[in-house]
């Protein structure tokens, strides 16, 4: 009987440790470094409906850690949705929608979405080894990190050819413990960072409301009807190949 008592307590202790590890090892939180403008109170401007003009998305580009990416449709839709919310424009068209005729007043938008991701793979690997070697007991004490930063540039071109450029950036870090990691966590982080960037952008645009009203500029009598057609200069430089001089 005396011999069974320590075994019982050992089992209870192990169960307690497992439960404690599972419950405290599931934590996760997001730390956001918001863009300076996003924390400000939103500007409010009032314009009449006659002053509103349509906006058409001309191009949307996306880069991740410097390399060009296929554009997810959700990104374009999200930007258009945010532009719709500020109420400055009558209609919002995506890249696939037809452009209004040259005799109409409208705004062309060009968006560049530059993402920087740092999942700290080396750290994660070493921490994973330590957590595994400790039989997961150290899970609550070793947080993992995933960094995401975004830099958004939006160019709005008025019907008379004048261009205004807006920029915003934001960054965030998801801190998580091993059992708290889910693919949704990364989506949440990206969602918060993107929202912060777009909020800052919209505040800048609202600040320039008068620039986009229909009465702000007349339509050019001779609108620009020519466009430049060119290919991009390749950015990849050639790699020199050395050969053995003895041959």
């Amino acid at each position: 009987m005396k011999a069974k008592l320590p075994l019982r307590w050992t089992i209870i202790g192990c169960c307690g440790l497992i439960i404690a590890t599972l419950t405290t090892g599931c934590a996760r939180w997001i730390e956001l470094v918001a863009a300076p403008d996003s924390s400000q109170e939103p500007n409010v401007r009032t314009i009449s409906r006659d002053e509103q003009v349509p906006l058409v998305m001309d191009s949307v580009r996306m880069t991740r850690n410097g390399s060009p990416q296929n554009l997810p449709l959700e990104t374009e839709q999200r930007v258009l949705g945010t532009l719709r919310e500020i109420g400055l424009f009558t209609q919002l068209g995506g890249m696939d929608s037809a452009e209004p005729s040259a005799s109409e007043k409208f705004i062309r938008a060009r968006l560049l979405f530059d993402e920087t991701i740092d999942p700290h793979p080396g750290d994660a690997a070493w921490k994973g080894i330590v957590i595994g070697a400790s039989m997961f007991i150290l899970t609550p004490f070793i947080p993992l990190e995933y960094d995401f930063a975004a830099h958004v540039t939006l160019e709005l071109e008025r019907w008379d050819g004048q261009v205004k450029r807006y920029e915003s950036q934001s960054a965030g870090t998801a801190h998580y413990q091993l059992f708290g990691a889910t693919p949704f966590m990364i989506d949440e982080l990206k969602g918060h960072v993107t929202e912060s960037c777009l909020t800052a952008l919209m505040q800048q645009i609202v600040h320039d409301t008068t620039f986009y009203t229909a009465s702000s500029a007349p339509i050019l009598n001779q609108p620009i009807r020519s466009v430049s057609v060119k290919s991009k200069r390749p950015k990849i430089t050639s790699v020199p190949i050395s050969t053995a001089s003895g041959k």
């Binding site: 793979p121 595994g132 039989m135 997961f136």
Partner: protein
């Protein structure tokens, strides 16, 4: 005398049938999975990202290795069952042929030793796995796992005296993704069982463990 010798044989046969039945169940599961309509859409599906969980089951058969010459004489063999859980710790890292993802997890190792004596062993082994990107549909991997292992085979063989041991495995395999959420796995592991000098003797048991299995990702 004849009674004493036939009784263990019957027990052994019963357990053999039991383990055979489990192997057949696994093989049937794999066959049924393989016959499912393959809806793998390649690039159109989201890749396995950080936080993706994997649960799986592998079944194999242990073949002994007498690596220490005359010191190691026991030719232990029998089926091994390894239910496992792991989690993607990284997005794809590296460039080139070695590009892949790190998973960390754990597996329960159960071995029914049918030779030299019908005995059992069970253990818990944290694991680390590197899953190469491969062709997305066929992804090779290497795996290392190790942890405590309790077996009543020890004490009945000259190599090991204590029942508390450790099991270490290192190996590799190939995952064939039938869908982005499911794969069939086949591979080979080298397995070592010893007690880290916690009792004497500690010659150690070594074995080859070819295995088949499947994994679900979510």
């Amino acid at each position: 005398m004849s009674r004493q010798s036939t009784q263990p044989t019957k027990v052994r046969n019963g357990c053999w049938i039991q383990s055979q039945a489990l192997v057949i169940i696994l093989l049937l599961t794999i066959t049924l999975c393989a016959s499912l309509p393959i809806s793998y859409a390649g690039e159109n599906t989201p890749p396995l990202t950080i936080g993706t969980q994997e649960i799986g089951l592998s079944v194999g058969y242990l073949f002994p290795h007498l690596l220490k010459g005359k010191k190691s004489k026991t030719e232990q063999s029998g089926p091994a069952f390894m239910p496992s859980w792991s989690m993607m710790l990284t997005d794809p890292i590296g460039n080139g042929w070695y590009r892949g993802q790190i998973l960390i997890g754990a597996e329960i190792v159960y071995i029914q030793f049918q030779q030299p004596v019908l005995t059992h062993g069970a253990g818990f082994a944290p694991s680390i796995k590197y899953l190469f990107e491969g062709t997305h549909k066929i992804r090779p991997y290497v795996i290392f796992s190790g942890g405590p292992f309790y077996t009543d085979l020890a004490g009945q063989i000259p190599e090991q005296s204590g029942r508390f041991n450790f099991v270490l495995t290192v190996g590799g395999g190939i995952s064939w993704f039938l869908t982005p959420q499911m794969s069939l796995n086949a591979g080979y592991r080298f397995q070592h069982i010893s007690n880290a000098q916690t009792s004497y003797p500690n010659v150690g048991l070594n074995a080859s463990l070819p295995f088949l299995g499947f994994s679900l990702y979510f």
